[in-house]
């Protein structure tokens, strides 16, 4: 009995080996792949800091898989896309979860790709001989962002519709070819069926195709040059010596990438995948938001998180330099990223010896963070329903004269609150008015209200004299925590001047 068991096992192994040999003698790919996986890598880079690239690849695979599954149901037609997403959310078993995985996977992938890029930059790993690996990485970042933007269009809701409008409006600013470019982006004269179809083509065929190919080349170069060694202060990268030094390091300290270094990659990838699954489960899919009916204008379009910083920057650019900045700065930025290793291909790799690089990256990170944060609550946008939604706080009316109370009504009715806060409620486009009377005197308030200026429209046409008088009386009573009101500094001089003043009018006696 035991004999036969042993024999059976031996036969099974033999048969398995035979099958493997049959396949491999014809395919010839398994052996090289195993060798590539087991290639020796310097032991000092088997670090938790070196795990982002593989996690991004794993996320890409999940995005392709969930994307293919979503395409089984999604209808890429302007008339039906939104409804097909609702159908996926509510009528298809686990459709909501597949959408959630794809959406959260996209956010995680952008985050991991950016972390990967930051790590490579801070560790100086883009230097010789890995310049082209970096350049392909920059292209991969752009392709990932391209997937995110076209993916947002796939969600074909109000944000997607008006986001396309923003894209067309930016294209229209390109000199000379503005109009043909708009038509090229939209696929026709308006946002419609042709627009969704071409963004679908980009999202499903064109960009993923290039992305997968570029990942292949990127990984090929990683294998060819080896994973960069841990940077040490004073260990200078020189084109003449680096490769020899790297090989010596591998000879001396090399460990097989699989499994000695790759287990960390695998653990991290699993953790990330689990996070995506958990986020998808607990937070669900993204939208779709309101249906893409352009006649429903009660909407405040906003891009997805990866593009919020651009949305914020576009609110702050001065009108005169807006178009040049929109069109030129991205070109310079991308060119700089691509050419970085050409200009800084040699020298120190350790962060402690690259203060300018570290300062640049810190400023960029803080800047992007600030603009993204601003994009989340858009202080520049009027709060469209603040005039009817946010009441005047009672303490601002208590003890006020009838005229001042009338002014408080005017302030609400004329929609001033859409841009001005009282007690922390209302728009933030203009300054809060809680203590306006401590900053402007009556004359200044009248001038500002009627003539506008400093990014405030003139209300001369929207206010009649009695409304103006009441409004100004109310505003003049807003002095914060009972602070000293603003006064015209020349007023005292006028009072004291030796010029003969006209006699005070005698109050008429009423019987």
């Amino acid at each position: 009995m035991a004999e036969t068991g042993k024999d059976l096992k031996k036969t099974a192994i033999d048969e398995g080996l035979k099958l493997y040999k049959w396949v491999e003698s014809r395919l010839g790919l398994i052996q090289p792949a195993v060798e590539a996986a087991e290639h020796p890598t310097p032991s000092n880079n088997a670090s938790w800091w070196y795990v982002f690239g593989s996690a991004a690849t794993v996320l890409l695979i999940m995005q392709v898989m969930t994307g293919v599954l979503l395409a089984l149901v999604y209808t890429p037609s302007a008339g039906e896309a939104w409804s097909s997403l609702q159908f996926l959310n509510h009528n298809v078993a686990l459709g909501w979860y597949l959408r959630a995985l794809h959406g959260w996977g996209s956010d995680f992938m952008i985050a991991i790709v950016i972390l990967h890029m930051l790590q490579v930059f801070i560790w100086g790993a883009y230097k010789f001989p890995r310049e082209l690996t970096w350049m392909f990485g920059v292209v991969l970042l752009l392709l990932t962002l391209g997937m995110a933007f076209t993916g947002q269009v796939m969600r074909f809701d109000q944000d997607a519709y008006w986001g396309l409008g923003i894209g067309a409006s930016i294209s229209s600013r390109v000199p000379l070819i503005g109009a043909p470019l708009v038509h090229m982006v939209l696929g026709g004269p308006i946002i419609g069926a042709a627009t969704l179809s071409r963004f679908f083509t980009l999202h499903v065929f064109v960009i993923p195709g290039i992305l997968i190919g570029a990942v292949g080349v990127h990984v090929w170069m990683v294998l060819k040059h080896g994973v960069s060694d841990w940077p040490m202060p004073g260990r200078i990268v020189l084109k003449s010596t680096y490769e020899r030094e790297y090989h010596e390091l591998v000879e001396k300290t090399g460990i097989p990438f699989v499994p000695d270094a790759a287990w960390k990659d695998a653990v991290f990838a699993a953790a990330i995948m689990f996070s995506v699954m958990a986020c998808a489960f607990f937070f669900g899919p993204f939208g779709p938001g309101g249906m893409p009916d352009p006649t429903i204008i009660q909407t405040a379009p906003k891009p997805d998180s990866a593009f919020l910083w651009i949305y914020a920057v576009l609110a702050f650019l001065p009108t005169e330099i807006e178009t040049p900045v929109m069109l030129v700065v991205p070109v310079i930025g991308i060119a700089f990223l691509l050419l970085l290793p050409v200009f800084f291909g040699e020298g120190e790799r350790h962060w402690a010896r690259r203060p300018v690089a570290m300062l640049t990256i810190s400023v960029l990170a803080v800047g992007l963070g600030i603009f993204t944060r601003l994009g989340m609550y858009t202080p520049w946008s009027p709060v469209m329903n603040a005039w009817s939604g946010d009441a005047t706080p009672p303490q601002y009316i208590y003890g006020k004269t009838p005229l001042e109370r009338e002014g408080a009504l005017v302030l609400q009715d004329k929609q001033c609150r859409n841009c001005h806060q009282l007690s922390g409620q209302g728009g933030q486009r203009g300054p809060a008015l809680d203590d306006i009377a401590t900053r402007m005197n009556e004359d200044q308030i009248i001038r500002q209200v009627l003539q506008g200026g400093g990014n405030m429209p003139a209300y001369g046409n929207a206010l009649n004299p009695s409304e103006t008088k009441a409004l100004v009386a109310f505003l003049s009573s807003l002095r914060g925590q009972n602070l000293t009101p603003a006064v015209d500094s020349t007023r005292g001089l006028v009072q004291q001047s030796s010029m003969p003043r006209p006699p005070e009018p005698v109050p008429t006696q009423t019987p």
């Binding site: 067309a168 109009a179 696929g187 042709a194 576009l314 469209m384 929207a462």
Partner: protein
Amino acid sequence: MWNDFFKYPGDSKSDTLSPEGKAAAHTRRVFLFKAAVAMNAIVGAVLAVPLLGYILGPSLKKSSEVGSWIPLGSIEEFPMGETRLAEFVSPVKSLGDGETAKVACWVRRTSTGSFQVFAINCAHLGCPVRWFAQAKLFLCPCHGGAYYETGERAAGPPERGLFQYRTRIENGALMIHAGDMPTLATQAKCTGKPLVQIASAAEEKA
């Protein structure tokens, strides 16, 4: 090796080749291969014409060819001195546009026979502007662009006033000329004449 291969035999640049190399560059097989490569280049160039034509099709159409006059409704629907939201189905809609074929616009009636019809799209980046009757302002939700009731720029990032459609009255109906989505480069055009600018609105009435 490739450099040598593409050198024209007898070319002075080929002088460095050995006599055997020159002979090799002269063989019939090499000639046939070069001829085949040239054939493929020609086929590729010819094939590129329809492919490029297909891709560039939408952008080769002139803006002035797009669009036509369409009715917004009876002029009685728009009270004097008020600004109202109106909607129409784009005359340039195509198969499968669905809801996106609909377009909204703001109609302001200034007198018995004169109208201003503003595009819904902000002149900054195309978001839908909303009319606030009490403040007499159009406000944009995206970046806070503001326009007066006449469509002139009031505040915010837009560099110009709202886009205006050309209008005319026909049998008691308000007609506008609509086509392209209005942007800085593609304003609704009619017979090659640019869209009414805010400044020339007065001339238009005259």
